[in-house]
Amino acid sequence: MKGHNTFNWFKLILTRDLTIAFRRSSSYLTPLIFFLIVITFFPLALGPQESLISSLAPGVIWISALLSSLLAVEGIFSEDDRDGTLDQYFLSNEPPFLLVFSKVLCHWLICGAPILLASILGSFMLFLPNGVLVPLLMSLFLGTFFMSLLGALGAALSLGKSAILSTIIVLPFSIPTLLMGTSIMTLAINEQDYSGYLQIMGAMLAVGVPGLCILTVEAILLRYE
């Protein structure tokens, strides 16, 4: 059945990419370590007073998460492009949207998910007030997934060029996520209702998954013009 084949194909790409990623420990350790290093730089640069660091904590965690997510996208498509696997994907007559989505999912699993866990550590290092861990994790979950989507688009547009270029292209589009994520944290710290912002972030994700994946497919197809 066609539907069964398509799901199998999706599973194939996901399983293969995840297996390769976990073979090479640097794929999931590097974003994690980068995240922690950036977090460490702020107290180092600004001084270790608890009051200062604590007020900066939500912003610092968000900025570190954003930067690590965006810088880790480099290999998403370029490796497959170089060894001919990308050709195979387009030859298989399966919807390329699923190819992009599985790459995004894989990227999130090896980059966004570890960051989510590391942010718990980060919240202790930066004296984040207790009780705001849950909104932090919820907003970071939505935010890092959106970052993976944007990162995939950036990687596809700048296929083969430097990682920094793909970051510049995509960074302005991540500003709403940053603003909303940190607003959620500020509201949570002041014990106000943040659910409105969460809903908007969720809506952005819901629109972003089909929209950004389709744009990414267009960007990859540029290669075959």
Binding site: K11, R23, R82, D83
Partner: protein
């Protein structure tokens, strides 16, 4: 005899230069064609036009089972393609490379084992491909051909970087698959002395 793939008056231009023109051929079931050309004669471009990766061509490419005259990009192609870069992932073992290919994902363990034995890699099933020699990596690629039967196999330069034993292996596998009705369109830069129809691209400038 019904053909699997044919091309008529195919012209290829890249960056304003004529790569080849006036190419005509037809492949029937169970027969092979070898495309010979020096470097830069357009062997890879030729294959990529047939697959629909290069929309910039003139002429007719027709895969059987489709209506004539529609662009090759929108035709259904039942083929196996192996490009110049074979797509063998260095971090995966031989077994995993075979299992995680589109022909192999739904294959049973036994079938994958048999393919590996056929190409002589049964002792390396769990070795990562990065630890194998270039010739052995090519053998993994050959094993992939055996996992599922296709009407047409398009292989770009299968004999490059293979020793005599490897070349014999390819010839044997090709004749086995020919008997099952599959056809091969391979490219190369020198005559492989296979007993097949030849298409010499250098003559078609």
């Amino acid at each position: 005899m019904s053909y699997i793939l044919k091309a008529k008056d195919l012209n290829c231009y890249r960056s304003g230069n004529t790569i080849f023109q006036g190419l005509n051929f037809e492949i029937d079931s169970g027969s092979n064609i070898e495309v010979i050309g020096s470097n830069g004669s357009g062997k890879t471009s030729f294959l990529r036009i047939l697959l629909g990766f290069i929309p910039d061509y003139e002429g007719l490419v027709h895969w059987s089972g489709n209506e004539e005259n529609i662009d090759v990009r929108y035709q259904e192609k039942s083929c196996f393609y192996q490009g110049h870069q074979t797509g063998i992932k260095p971090l995966l073992s031989v077994y995993e490379n075979l299992k995680f290919s589109s022909s192999g994902f739904s294959s049973s363990r036994a079938l994958i084992h048999d393919s590996a034995i056929r190409v002589g890699l049964e002792n390396h099933l769990n070795t990562p491909a990065s630890e194998l020699s270039a010739g052995q990596k090519k053998r993994i690629a050959i094993a992939r051909w055996l996992l599922k039967d296709f009407d047409l196999y398009l292989v770009d330069e299968p004999f490059t970087a293979l020793d005599d034993e490897g070349c014999d292996l390819i010839k044997a596998v090709m004749s086995e698959l020919n008997k099952k009705g599959s056809s091969f369109l391979i490219t190369g830069h020198r005559n492989s002395l296979l007993d097949t129809e030849k298409l010499i691209l250098d003559d078609l400038k």
